[in-house]
Amino acid sequence: MRTLLLAPLLLAGCDPEGEAADNFEYVDLGTFTTDADGLVNIPWEAPEGVVSTEVFCGPYGYDTIATADDVTSPAGTMVYDDEAPYDGALRVGVLDDVLPVLIPVSPDLPAESGQWSMNLFVDASDLPASVSCGALSRVGDTASANLVDVHIVFVGVDGIAAGMTAQAAEGDETVQAIVSRLGDLWSDLGLGLGTVRYSDFSGDVAGSTTIEGYEEFGNLLRTTEDTAELTFFMVQDIDLGDGASILGLSGGPPGVAGHGGTSKSGVVINVANAVASPEQVSLIMAHEGGHFLGLFHPTENDLSGQDPLGDTPVCSDSDGDGGLTSAECAGSGSENVMWPTAQVGTATSFSGDQGWVVARNPITFPE
């Protein structure tokens, strides 16, 4: 029932605002029903001159997860196989509610025109399940210097830093330092800040400023507008259910670009440390924004996988304890902004391949 009720949200008209909106087109692929094993084939067409293409399906609810069994390119090549998820040049999440798949996330698998297809697997308790899908493809030019428009939404965080309101942000030293430092960090990607706008969250602030669990996270992201911007929600805390605070969380990754109203349509940032370390908030925004735009951790610190890029460092478990620390990976990953723990002042760089990926995301555009 939840799927049926929420489906219109995903299929709401897509007429996004923002500079990048001229670069891409959205196609409503319609509703698909899985077989009794939870599988369904989702074909979508990438147009001539495609730079990037993203398909997304859902909503299937927060209690259900889905992934791609496989993804096949227009040339008929299987470019993703969930039996070996870290072997190829594509990464696909195992996600609740909505599953986005973005191409490219590596120069080794550029977007190409023609028919792509994904065998979607929905692990629902009640099968068959129905999902709605859409595809968004960017066409046009790419460049080495790009911009992204940013929308910062304050969700009841003026108690942490008084300037964190739509009215005060433009003239607030802390907020402007955070935004400026974000621009500095992203400049290593060849990415600059386009238009930056600020809003106050207009929904249930008390119920949304401390995010507890993926459902609250997803519901906050569902409030995004249909926009070609990268939306950051600034909150007091994020706890995914075990009590510990995490610093940020991106829809996806990668996020659903250029299409609002889904549980993967933005990024949430924990600003609890904003006064003590505005630099850290910039780093969190650069990192989670990087996820949204198609970047992954160079190496997972639990050794569960690595990104699909050839020029990001791979750290090995030199002390053999089954995990990685930032000290252990000094010189082999922890200097990268996409390193999985916050290394303020140390994690300041991106690789060339990371810049290549971001330059092709649907919501970035040539400077």
Binding site: T210, Q236, A244, S245, L247, A272, A327
Partner: protein
């Protein structure tokens, strides 16, 4: 003879402490994930002292202190409990830390923490009160049900009242 080796032994210990401290701080600083209980326990009992020191250290970042409080629930000793209670007793301590302290008490010490948790239902910050409601509601065997029902007649904040009503209807 021992005197000759003592500085070397101390230097070795210091190095080990430094490595442990660095690892603990790293684990408290996850961008988008947090360590599981087993990862904390794998560090051994020395981690408890580091977590206690970080939780009490105002020079550390709020989220690092908060996560240290939460991680202390994996080491449910009287020392760890003392660190958490000291956080709750510190005037003007940040709401984030008070929220994590009540959660950690409930997780690590269960129903025995109810006498320390119940007064926090009257905290000045609604977010802290809401977190305390959830922490008490999660105590085993409905140990906090009566405490929560009593609070229903006193609470005025709409968000906390919603949490209370949800908790007592479970």
């Amino acid at each position: 003879m021992l005197n000759l080796f003592l500085p070397l032994l101390l230097a070795g210990t210091g190095h080990a402490d430094e490595a442990l401290r660095s690892r603990v701080v790293d684990m408290l600083s996850g961008m988008d994930s947090a360590p599981a209980a087993e990862q904390w326990l794998a560090l051994g009992p020395a981690a408890e002292a580091e977590l206690g020191a970080i939780a009490s250290d105002r020079a550390m970042l709020p989220t690092q202190r908060a996560n240290a409080l939460v991680a202390l629930s994996n080491f449910p000793s009287e020392e760890a409990r003392g660190v958490i209670l000291a956080t709750l007793a510190t005037p003007g301590e940040q709401a984030l830390l008070r929220r994590k302290a009540v959660l950690s008490l409930a997780t690590g010490w269960g129903a025995s923490a109810l006498p320390q948790l119940a007064p926090v239902l009257a905290d000045t910050d609604p977010q802290v009160r809401a977190a305390t409601v959830r922490a008490i509601a999660g105590l085993p065997n409905g140990a906090g049900a009566e405490t929560l029902r009593a609070r229903l007649t006193v609470e005025t904040d709409a968000h906390v009242l919603a949490e209370l009503r949800k908790a007592v209807s479970l």
